[in-house]
């Protein structure tokens, strides 16, 4: 299997450069992550993040043949060769495929990602009907991998001011949670300037690359409708079978 991987050593390189690799695919190399881990046997300096190896932690998000995805759930056999692997677009590169997620998490924190409810807590849980709980489907599953945000052109041009698809789908998750009492403040925070939410042009790159098949673009549309006072529909957000890089 032939691969071409972006390398960057901040102590030695002036900028990222592509390095070619060749490796025999073993029968156990089902996913791209398996190949990358065995590549480290050839070249121990190759650096990337990884953890759960099953598509739930979001650590190994990277740009594979031009399209963001998680290396651990991208089938190695389906990839066009040479497999071109680069770090997530638009994010500062710390080393090789490892990017700086600080700004991404700053945007996440800026949408108040926790339930705000000053009412005294009940004996057990704050209750929700099944219909109310269903509204969160298609949003709570976000694993904060940053595939969507780093494939969004609007985020590329304004990463400091536009919250990005991931932050906004998380904002949706709290705006539409029946137990939250800060809806007005959340909506005002997102709608009172032209950047935080309204940079979204419905390009839909986010939905295309989400490894969990989520559709942040529609979360954003629903938030807009709620701001406009238009009645929101029942049910959660659409989820589609994830589209892997090829």
């Amino acid at each position: 299997m032939k691969l071409s991987i972006s390398r960057f050593d901040p102590e030695r390189d002036r900028g990222p450069r592509m390095q070619d690799y060749e490796i025999e695919r073993a029968p156990t190399d089902h996913m791209l992550l398996d190949v990358l881990l065995r590549l480290k046997g050839q070249d121990p300096t190759l650096s990337f993040r990884k953890s759960c190896r099953e598509g739930v932690c979001g650590s190994d998000a990277m740009n594979i043949n031009g399209r963001n995805g998680l290396a651990c759930i991208t089938r190695a056999s389906e990839l066009r060769e040479p497999v071109v692997i680069r770090p997530l677009p638009g994010f500062p590169i710390i080393r090789d495929l490892i990017v700086d997620m600080t700004r991404f998490f700053k945007q996440y924190h800026s949408i108040t990602p926790y339930l705000v409810n000053p009412e005294p807590p009940p004996d057990k849980e704050r209750l929700q009907t099944p219909a109310e709980r269903e509204k969160l489907n298609g949003a709570w599953e976000c694993i904060l991998c940053a595939c969507c945000t780093s494939q969004c052109p609007s985020y590329w041009w304004n990463p400091e001011k536009f919250v990005g698809p991931s932050g906004l789908i998380q904002a949706y998750r709290f705006i539409f949670d029946s137990r939250d009492r800060a809806t007005e403040q959340r909506l005002e925070d997102l709608g009172s300037d032209p950047y935080r939410l309204f940079r979204c042009r419905t390009i839909m790159n986010c939905a295309e690359v989400c490894p969990k098949g989520l559709e942040p673009v529609h979360a954003i549309e629903r938030i807009r409708l709620k701001m406009a006072g238009i009645a929101d529909e029942a049910g959660g957000l659409d989820v589609h079978p994830p589209i892997s890089p090829t």
Binding site: G191, S192, D193, P194, R224, K226, G229
Partner: protein
């Protein structure tokens, strides 16, 4: 739902509404405008009397208003995305706003002149 929120606080939303409403208006009127231009291939007299018809003049007037509103939101979006630093961006926004104002005045002048 959003009982306490007034439109004036949600400035991002206001621009979005202007763009959507003007788009719907333009959709209706662009067909009308194209039809008008098709009629213009006749003589000068026929063309002039068509546009000078009060109903047609009004339709063109509504079209231009929607057009200027739509152009403003669209061009503003392009500048907000790409123009930096803030000083340059604001200067360009002002320039575009003035140009659009000039276009609007010009369009009104053309239509008014027909009814002298």
């Amino acid at each position: 739902m959003t009982g306490g929120l007034t439109a004036s606080r949600l400035t991002g939303l206001r621009a979005w509404w202007v763009q959507r409403v003007s788009a719907a208006c333009l959709l209706l009127f662009v067909l009308f405008v194209l039809y008008s231009f098709a009629r213009s291939t006749g003589s000068y007299a026929a063309w002039r009397s068509w546009v000078a018809d009060p109903g047609v003049t009004l339709a063109f007037g509504v079209f231009f208003v929607a057009l200027v509103g739509h152009m403003w939101v669209g061009l503003r979006d392009v500048l907000l995305d790409y123009a930096r630093p803030a000083g340059v961006r604001n200067a360009l926004l002002v320039a575009v706003a003035l140009a659009l104002l000039a276009l609007a005045i010009w369009a009104v002048a053309i239509l008014v002149r027909l009814h002298r």
